[in-house]
């Protein structure tokens, strides 16, 4: 009550006092307002652009480092480990059993990562809990079989085969999905076809390649 009253009082005195020189005062106030506006705008814009992603994503390390380049040179192309099964489904990240095809006997190499791999997983017969950068939400159906015949893995996954170490996995705290889906760029701007993996990116390519972005069920389940 008293607040309303006070405000009312202030208002009345102000306007009473301002009556004569209202215009000049207005200008000054507006000028100050503009400065405040600009400062607030810049601060909020920058925090929304720079600080916000830092808060939104948590950083996680892979269980141990994985050298894709080395594996490509030793084992062969992507499909040496990530293959399409006979029934057309996709194996994704290989299971321990696949690793053991080569790593069965003695440790291969003397890296620390190999030690972790052997001690923590091979000896304990535990699957490696890899964090999957490209994991799509549960509602998405993606047929690798339909794409691998005419599309290079790189188009969606980027040059991951050339990497020597596993990069940090960034997890969206809200949704639990990998940052790779939205893309590194918080504005969603992409330079390469693999920079983002949202539905619109699929649709864009489908439109270009098949003339139609596809029906819902083509990619949803």
């Amino acid at each position: 009550m008293s607040e309303i009253e006070n405000k009312a009082e202030n208002g009345s005195t102000e306007s009473a006092g301002e009556c004569t020189s209202g215009d000049t005062k207005d200008d000054k106030g507006l000028g100050l307002g503009v400065i405040f506006f600009i400062v607030a705008f810049v601060v909020c814009f920058l925090s929304g652009t720079l600080l916000f992603p830092k808060l939104l994503y948590s950083k996680k390390e892979q269980p141990f480092n994985f050298d894709h380049e080395l594996h490509v040179s030793e084992a062969g192309d992507c499909d040496a480990c990530h293959s399409v099964r006979e029934d057309g489904s996709f194996t994704g990240i290989p299971k321990l059993a696949v690793c053991l095809d080569c790593h069965a006997e003695d440790p291969l190499g003397e890296t620390e990562d190999e030690v972790v791999f052997v001690e923590e997983y091979v000896n304990k017969e535990k699957e490696v809990p890899w964090l999957v950068y490209a994991r799509q939400p549960d509602c998405v159906f993606f047929s690798h079989a339909a794409h691998t015949t005419n599309t290079d893995c790189k188009v969606c996954h980027g040059p991951i085969g050339e990497s020597n170490s596993s990069r940090v996995y960034e997890e969206n705290r809200l949704t639990g999905y990998s940052r790779d889906i939205w893309g590194k760029n918080i504005f969603g701007i992409k330079k390469h076809s693999w920079d983002r993996m949202k539905m619109d990116d699929c649709a864009e390519c489908h439109k270009k390649e098949t003339g139609h972005q596809g029906y819902c069920f083509q990619c949803h389940k």
């Binding site: 009550m1 009253e5 009312a8 009082e9 208002g11 009345s12 306007s15």
Partner: protein, 433 residues
């Protein structure tokens, strides 16, 4: 206590009395908010809706408030475009009622959806074929327009108006209001219509399905027309209620008679169209789908032919005739009867076009589905009513809503009464500062 905010020259009840009243209605609002909270927290299982009644009380309330709240756009249209100046006496109030109705409609829609966090999909992933998309867009834009139309009135508050910026803003906004009125009218035409379209396009539901004119089913036009026809009834009804509660005459008879006359002719023309539509539907559309029209009114506990009679004759033809005839129109009791019937009529129409549509079995082996809303649904439906009462009370108290208030209530002692009451209260304060 709040006298400094009360419009100059207006008499209002004492501060405690006013807020006691607000508190009572506020309790109802809290009840509604509690129900809303429950619905968001626990989900729509808090309602009595089911897979047959996907649309129920809420959608009816939505359609009904939008129908009766159509006054804002129509008054705007008549005053600013058709230059019927007499309506200046009611336009502020019509805008407020419209604002309340449309904000309520949006509120109810927000409660009604199963995944509120995805509500924005309707805009972002809009399906242009859907009548509901059209509704959502028009409704939201029109609500924005209404807010703009409402702002000048708020700025006319005694204190706000003292700020020269606000004063000028309000003044200038009045000047360009014609643009908003035109925009509003166009938007309204479409969303009133598309609300009608919601039912009319459902070709799987022979009860609501209507033949189309181009892409629009007849219900599209009927809804727009009925909203245009019945809004004066609701505006007059709310005015009457406000007058009764405040004990003052707020709108001049001339305006009231004009509005009634508009209503009379619009209702009558609408109801003729509606009857023609009904006959066409009953004799051509429904039979072509294998239904005798009586199928939709039999073998259930609620939806009998009386419903059709009530909607068309009792709450359609009758108020139309009563309001057309000068003698009955200018008889305050009969006029009141007519506007009440009119409001019931349009609400009943919306009820039928939502709930009966869901109730009627379409598959020959299906059965009628009847439903009684849960308290949570009722509370959230009453919530906007209570909120509307509070908003009307506040605006009436603090804003110069009714331009005729002074001349109608204290025409002689205007000066004498006014000055002593307000001015002394303000001046000493200013002096001490």
């Amino acid at each position: 206590m709040d006298s400094a905010l009360i419009p100059e020259g207006a008499k209002r009840c004492s501060f405690p009395k006013f807020y006691m009243g607000i508190a009572v209605v506020g309790a109802v609002v809290l009840w509604g908010l509690l129900a809303w909270g429950l619905i968001y927290w626990k989900g729509l299982n808090q309602t009595n809706m089911n897979d047959y009644y996907g649309f129920a009380l809420w959608i009816w309330a939505d359609l009904a408030v939008i129908a009766v709240g159509g006054g804002a756009f129509f008054t705007g249209l008549l005053k600013y475009i058709f230059k019927i100046d007499e309506l200046k006496n009611i336009i502020n109030f019509a805008v407020i009622i419209g604002f309340i109705c449309y904000s309520s409609a949006l509120l109810i829609l927000a409660i009604d959806i199963g995944q509120p966090l995805r509500g924005w999909f309707i805009f972002w992933h809009a399906n242009v074929h859907s009548m509901l998309t059209e509704v959502a867009f028009c409704l939201s834009f029109y609500f924005a327009v209404l807010t703009i139309e409402f702002i000048p009135n708020i700025l006319e508050n005694r204190q706000a108006n003292k700020v020269s910026f606000f004063h000028h803003l309000a003044h200038n906004m009045h000047g360009i209001m014609v643009i908003f009125a035109a925009t509003g009218a166009a938007l309204s035409f479409f969303h009133q219509g598309s609300l009608g379209g919601v039912a009319g396009v459902m070709f799987g539901r022979p009860f609501s399905f209507r033949e189309h004119l181009n892409i629009w089913p007849y219900t599209f036009f009927l809804f727009t027309w009925s909203a245009a026809a019945f809004w004066p009834c609701f505006t007059l009804l709310v005015t009457k209620i406000t007058e009764t509660i405040t004990g003052k005459k707020l709108v001049g008879d001339k305006t009231v008679h004009l509005l009634s006359k508009i209503a009379g002719w619009m209702i009558t023309s609408y109801i003729i169209a509606k009857i023609i539509d009904t006959i066409y539907w009953a004799t051509v559309t429904a039979p072509s789908l294998g239904f005798k029209w009586t199928h939709f009114y039999s073998n259930n506990a609620l939806y009998g032919k009386w419903m059709l009679f009530t909607e068309l004759i009792l709450c359609g033809v009758l108020p139309g005739v009563l309001l057309i005839m000068k003698s009955t129109r200018e008889n305050s009791k009969l006029r009141l009867l007519a506007i009440i019937l009119g409001v019931i009529g349009v609400c009943l129409n919306r009820w039928v076009m939502v709930l009966q549509v869901m109730a009627v079995p379409v598959m020959p082996f299906d059965t009628w589905a009847l439903y009684i809303p849960s308290w949570q649904e009722m509370a959230t439906t009453i919530l906007p009513v209570a909120y509307g009462i509070i908003l009307i009370a506040l605006t009436y108290r603090y804003l110069p809503v009714f331009p005729q208030e002074q001349e109608l209530n204290y025409p002689v002692e205007e000066e004498a009464v006014d000055e002593p009451v307000v001015a002394p209260a303000a001046e000493p304060v200013a002096a001490t500062e």
